[in-house]
Homo-oligomer: 421 residues x 2
């Protein structure tokens, strides 16, 4: 029986779940996969952190050096989060020849090159299934199940916090503020929710997933990012009235010329699309390959046990590999110059004859045709106009919106939201 000893760095939500999985299911891992995985050391601020979870404080490690210098430890699990000290610790472990399993999407998205170089130099593996979409095996699917394919698209709901908030706003009419407060109370959102609600978390994950899907490093710098803080209840109602649900989507596409578009933004999703019915804290990812066609993976994208499931799957996967895995993100991607979409536009105009025509003619001048257009008068002499365009280029849309904003009689442009098919 193969044996491997593991250190866990960071006994928080995910680290604690990982300890539980490795100890509670140690026998079934042994009998099912022929490898005995033993937790040997746990790094955290103080032994009290271990004691508070009922874990023997004999496992406690005070410094990274205690782990790095322990020749028995083969795999180091990093579940601390954040860039530092997690980054330095991971580099030390890799340099010492210890394989690392990490759940740290920010670290991977921002410093992948550095980590990978250390892994290769240290002849150690680097595994990160848990960094994206929790217990849903999207990385293993991309790397071990779709090799036959050129992948053209990855579209997903990959942040549970924002999906919870949007679900409550859509289904129960909550305001953004009320839904956020509820998510915070339930532990779905942090006290400072910026990383989730502004789309940073989804952008980190998309950078990782798109790189693996397209065999081309998709750096954060080319990931367009827009959060959900500007989504208004009336946009959600407008979407519903047209048969759509508003979701924060991560979209990666590789164009036939090899260029890549990667973007995180709210979108109108048709109710008939499987992503429309992904509710609450659940996540789902669509992958499209030239042979597989569309595959959807669905499950819990965060949380202690689902994320621990992914961490432990990497631990066992790593333990059974005879050679370490250096993930290959390939050569850098070229950012696509533009992309096509339908759009929903909401704006205020002065309530006088001819306004719809002048708005429509701005769109027409930019080659954008209109699918639906509606004007609702308001008491104050102004009216709300909502427009659903046909498919057009993002750059044309932006130029048209800029021109609209300076058109006589047009007040505020309240929203422009992409619409998927």
């Amino acid at each position: 029986m193969k044996k491997i000893k593991v250190a866990i760095m960071g006994l928080g939500t995910v680290g604690g779940g990982t300890y539980d999985a490795l100890t509670r299911n140690r026998d079934s891992i042994r009998s099912g996969y022929g490898v005995d995985v033993e937790v040997k050391k746990i790094l955290d601020r103080s032994p009290d952190v271990l004691a508070s979870r009922g874990i023997d404080t004999a496992f406690f490690a005070r410094t990274i050096d205690e782990i790095v210098s322990d020749k028995e430890i083969g795999i180091v699990v990093e579940t601390m989060g954040g860039l530092e000290p997690a980054g330095s610790f991971v580099l030390k472990a890799l340099s010492a020849g210890k394989s690392v399993v990490t759940a740290n999407k920010e670290l991977l998205a921002k410093r992948f090159g550095e980590l990978n170089a250390a892994a290769e130099k240290g002849k150690a593996g680097l595994y990160f299934e848990a960094s994206c979409v929790g217990g849903v095996p999207v990385i293993r699917t991309l790397t071990e199940s779709m090799q036959a394919n050129r992948i053209s698209e990855i579209t997903g709901i990959i942040n549970g916090t924002t999906n919870y908030i949007l679900t409550r706003m859509s289904e129960d009419g909550l305001t953004y503020e009320a839904a956020l407060e509820e998510a915070q109370k339930l532990g779905y959102a942090e006290a400072d929710p910026t990383a989730d609600v502004e789309g940073f978390d989804a952008a980190y994950k998309l950078s990782i997933l798109a790189s693996l899907a397209f065999h081309a490093k998709v750096p954060l710098s080319i990931v367009y990012r827009e959060g959900i803080t500007q989504v208004r209840p009336r946009d959600i109602s407008a979407a519903a009235s047209m048969g759509y649900t508003v979701k924060l989507l991560a979209v990666g596409k590789q164009n036939p010329d090899g260029s890549v578009q990667a973007r995180v933004h709210p979108a109108f999703v048709p109710n008939s699309h499987p992503l429309a019915s992904v509710r609450g804290a659940f996540n789902a990812v669509f992958l499209k390959g030239d042979f597989s066609d569309e595959i959807m993976l669905y499950g819990r994208g965060a949380g202690s046990y689902p994320t621990a499931s992914a961490v432990v799957s990497d631990v066992v996967y790593c333990a059974l590999r005879s050679a370490p895995l250096y993930p290959d993100f390939g050569k850098p991607a070229t950012a696509a110059a533009d992309f096509d979409s339908q759009y929903y536009i909401s704006l205020c105009v002065t309530d006088k004859p001819g306004m719809l025509a002048s708005v429509a003619s701005v769109l027409g001048r930019h080659g954008i045709s209109i699918s639906k257009m509606q004007q609702v008068g308001a008491a104050s002499g102004s009216a709300d106009v909502t427009i659903l365009t046909h498919t057009t280029g993002e750059s044309s849309l932006r130029a048209a919106v800029a021109e609209m904003a300076s058109t006589v009689g047009v007040g505020k442009i309240n929203a422009t939201v992409r619409v998927i098919k």
Copy 2:
């Protein structure tokens, strides 16, 4: 660069797709995975089969011996289907030390022990992602992504033909016969549709998937099987009126005592359940682990290219492994003595007072409580009764139905369908 040469046995729908994937995407497999996969031989009835697909007849192999004796060939792809000669050919290849990638669910479900022994003896690998649910990576997920978990349940729609027929009956009011004829015209159903419509195909897949999920060999002999030929339009309407959709489900569960239930049968699925919206020829599988919670995988469960995607993913997976994989189905499973479900029952009774009461009292005597009960009178002096029970044991239900059938005034028991939550 690692190089591997492959033989394909059977250039039909899946074999042809496999050839296309290996040749068309050879470069992207080489650059993405560092392995050069070359098709060297193709076994089929005649060189004309190759010629008709525009493939150089120099690849043609007339006998299995030409493949087995070719020292350059490392992997043999079996896409012939059926038990023989596929079984003998696979055994010959494995015995000669060549790893086999197969899409043959019937062969695996019926002769797994024999194949696995030959693989171990020949020090060759045996890979079969393509045998279950086409391009959807359910086997890789079970074996490489859920190691942290004890899996308690696997529930899925794993046969595209029957799902297509039931979708057309549900959504467009077709009769079974008309929907089957259409499926045959579209190539979704065979001229002899028995293997699909009687649930054999789903039972083969469930035997394989449940064995992997529960680490216990689930032989076909303990898989309960019921097809869709008895599903009537009026059962589908009754389901719809109560908020359910009728699907052919494969259900595997491992009870806390380790015993396993495995069954394929039509079921009422609540419309709010994600499986209810899996339409047409699409498939989906739910897996439930103690750490991952529920994961759903969705995609095309059959067809040339999706199945080829799975075959080629196994080819690359096998080529990159330094040791061959002998799948472990574990020790034999104990069949669960009984299982619990809700049930829908439809029966005819004589249209006279007291009939509902006497039917209800039969159920009561067997400890079965009723959720809904409805009687609709018919012209001929008989009435239709539909019943939705609360959760009860299958054995109690069967005993009650048998007693009902011999109750005075009860005509035919038209249907008993399990109802899932």
